[in-house]
Amino acid sequence: MGGEAPQRPSGAERRAAGALEAEILSILREADGPLSPGEVRRRLALRQHTGVQHTGVRDGGGPRGELSYSTVVTIVSRLHAKGLLARQRAGRGFTYTPFDEASLAARRMSQVLGSEHDHDAVLSRFVSGLSGRDARLLRELLASDPGPGNSGPGDGDPGHGGERG
């Protein structure tokens, strides 16, 4: 826990957490590729040392100014949980990339519209759900198709996703 006992966040700290999230998000957006929490922390420290003043981070970030590694991990995980960051496994940890605005909007919409029956009904989905029997039937149908373009029932497996000539 970075040598500090965790305390209940005061109002100021909570506000600072929001500002920190925004700052970390902007660091990830400016980066060329995925960043690990360690790299995020380094860039954050660099920003603060070069005197770039950012909203609210200073006044709430504690007397030390520099964040512990675990705090950065907590914040990026929270951003990931909020669906703002994509993460990839890299060695024993993760690296993070931000989603762009358009795709975030699409996902938010998907969540909102998918949550209610009528909202869901308005969307025209390419395929509706399959029952187990339907899936079996579908495989048989595709397998029994004698046509030249048929690439077999194994088509549906994610591993070999229909890369045909």
Partner: protein, 314 residues
Amino acid sequence: MWLLYLPLVIPALAGAAARPLAARLEPRHATWLLTTAAVALAACSMAALALLAAFAAAKAPFLAAVGDYSQQVMRRGDPISAAAGVAAALALTGAAVAVTVRFRSRARALAESYRRAAGLHAENGIVVMPGPAIEAYAVPGLPGRIVVSGRLLDCLDDRRRAALIAHEQAHLSSRHHLFTTVACLAAAANPLLLPVARAVDYTVERWADEHAATVTSDRRLVAQTIGQVALLAGPRRRRAAGVVLGIIGSRTPRVSVAWAGPVPRRVAALLTAPPRRQTILLAACTVIVLIAGVAALLAARDLHALLELAQGSR
């Protein structure tokens, strides 16, 4: 007076016929026929309920006094019992409430969809969604958008991507959401029409499939794309799914899809010859719907005649 019950019976007939019709008719014709039939039959059955209630109410002494007609003549000429009248009035109220509730809910969903579609920045109307989902759908709007998950696109080759996009574009350009919404409102008015609304949900999918087959000029390609995406997406929790009465052994070569879910039926339809125009079948269905309308009209005329008679013998 049996005429009055005809508009209440024909929707049950339509409910039973909807699925076979959806399988046989050309999808565009089927969609138009089923949607207009649903609306017409819902209107006729509501009119019949209103007339039943009116016939029964006309026997009330209070109304006879207000309307200045003979209660005795009314009692003699009118075979509708008070119980039937009350039941009809209750059913009519229920139908009106159900339509209102469903209408508001759908309108809100469509407004939300239009608002969100306008906020989506898309290239050529297509938005690629991040995340692990296997999803593709059309969002109605002005203009509508197509949302496809990046992971799904990664799984498809170029030709299958084209088939998928063509399918979704057909939904948007032909405004399929309006057909499904209208059919669903009709089913809210008369639950016997629920199978018709479900059939419309299916025929718009078939319509979009046939459009994709025309665009890509390869029916088999569209069938395989649907199959691949459905199997990738995997099973989905379904809201109280109806019992599937499939009669297929797991190893029999001949498979029956007539009772399967929509996806195998769509694939099977694409693997056979393109559907043909079926003028006689279309005409027959139109006639049956018209009979319901005529029956409701005749019943209304009967009520009017009876009232005139009662007024005359006052």
